[in-house]
Amino acid sequence: MSHWFSDNPHIRTTTIEWLQNGLFSVLVFLILGGSVFASSGNTIIVGSKNFLENRLLAEMFAQLIEAHTTLTVERRLGLAGTHICFQALTTGGIDLYPEYTGTGLVTILGDPPMHDPTAVLNRVRSEFRKRWNLWWLAPLGFDNSYALALRRDRAHTLNIRTITDLAHVAPTLKAAFGYEFIQRADGLPGLKELYGLQFHKVVGMQQSLKYQATDNGDVDVLDVYTTDGRLAVYDFVILEDDRHFFPPYDATALVRGSTLEQHPELGKVLSLLTNALSPARMRELNLRIQERGEAIPHVAYDALRALHLVEDDDQVTTTTKNESTSFLSYMWERRSTLIAQTGEHLGLAGVGLLLGIALAIPLALFLERWRKGAETIIRVIGMSQTIPSIALLAFMIPLFGVGVLPAIMALWIYSLYPILRNTYSGLRDAAPSVVETGRALGMTEWQILRSVRLPLAAPTIMAGIRTSAIWTVGTATLAAFIGAGGLGVPIVAGLQLADMQLILSGALPATILALCVDGLLGGIERLVRPRGLEVSQ
């Protein structure tokens, strides 16, 4: 299923909107001639959503392809949710990613939920092929559906076994659900309708936090994924879906038709995984990543080896979390990764900011000469700031695929407004009487701009650049959602694993980076501040 890592309520899209998006994507793809995408040649780009099971499956696909073909595999793992993955797939930003039949049916096609797994698979297969030339391969053998769960002792006390039982006592209970679950037709709204569920209180919560909250007794009921490894750790009871509400979510690879045509061996290799993974096996694999902190590539390799699908050589050493290490030594161990991620982060933010400066300042100079349209244009650009980051990233995918390019474009758009607004206001309001005197003494407009307006506006312009820089460094953590790397990677991964050290190992450098950038620009701001604007000591 499509576990979005997003608190964005804009999840349900109608079929018509999807069609429009599809048309738009095709159009853009034709215009750009597909040149920006790497889906040509002998490179296969494997994508995944940003939750562990999906990453694990994608990693298994990748290793399988590497082991059995001569193709080069590029990984774009951890894309932010169904919409972004799907957009990337239709536009050729990626060639394949692991998807779930129920998500295809309900979230992508916008159809009402269906119960029969075969019917769902047949429906998505024919529709996806017809509409987008996308192919659903044979299911991998497990169904990762939603389920409702309670702590065992709590279920026992309340004497609940099925969701129908739950409906009787629900008005006294508190529930913690994922943000997506609260919104989806095949989530809470549908459950309410079918079972008449009415909770005392429903709180939206991050996946990994729900388990802790339920275990602590802060909430009574939570939604779980049936293959979640944590179910093997926490003593929870899964309630029987006695009226068969939850649609089947059979996992498999969703692949571009054109890629299969170009590399027919790909379909054969990936079908080696048909029915290879049982739900219990998935829970076990997920658990190793979630709770024992084993690296995804290692777990993927182990799983493939157990299926005799990869050679028994090049053993990867097990890296498990060492709880006893202090945070500092933890950071020290991760230093090379962190330095690389900090570099990526700075690169993304830096390029975004430089592009922002390169566009906003000339635009402000132009608008200062053409004030009639200035406020309108600045306001329109200001509106771009209100687009939620995830949504903006999603808009970028049909245009620029996934990876570094769309991230930079999004950061560019975010960086524009503060620089534009400050430069324009600074130039316009720079000491009007002084400007008038310059004019009266025979300075040309260009000389006034260069010698009077710009120097007097410099501190205001720098303040705008500074605001923009902090904002860009902060926002660049979101680049992890579309596979562009940076310090967002450990933050996002840490959130999934509920690993505070991992989160901090990304958040702390990001904060320090923001402070350093601010300090540096503050210094520049003092340098460009013309002497004479304040009494020298």
Partner: protein
Amino acid sequence: MTHTWELEVRQLSKRFPDGTCALQDINWSVKQGETMALIGESGSGKTTLLRLLNRLAEPSSGAIFIQGHPASDQDPIALRRRLGYVPQDGGLFPHWTIRDNICLVPQLLQWPIHQQHDRLNTLLTLVNLDPGQVANRYPIELSGGQRQRVAVARALAADPPIILLDEPFSALDPLTRHELQEQFLELKTQLQKTMVVITHDMTEAFRLGDRITVLKDGCIHQIGTPQELIDTPATPYVTSLVQHI
């Protein structure tokens, strides 16, 4: 009659886009070497007249002649460099030193550096400032009176034949104002420039002006020497003004 006026305007009118009429059919002239005081309330059109002279604004109708040549035929930038200008607050560039401020027009005219330097020393001395002390300072480090002297020096820098002064001393305290007026009179005799001084203070107009133009609501009520204004005021408005002397 071919007597050339240094400044002359004929049937000059200025209407703003919003319909208000700042000047109505003005005929007005200034002789070479003469100081003309322009007096009137705010909104009388005196600043508009000044802005029309250096082409910061364009007339709605009528003609302006600078040293006998139509202003409209001249490049506005070149014209402004030949007209010195002193605004009310001095209008010094806050981020430039006194040296740079004074050398603005010579620099625009691309004078050689040593000539600019000589001129700077001459001018600062002329306005009673010590070049060694103030040349490298910033405007904010000077007093209001000193700043206004620098503004006068800047207007004189490229030795323009005509100087326009827009309420040059009105922002100063009475003592400083009096002192600067005295110095202005000395400079006037010394330099023999053609000057137009805007003021709203009749006493100042009487002290500085060889002749006085009384403006009200965009019309000229009288042009004359101080004595003529006292002896034969042309309108009741002029009478009311001279009563306060």
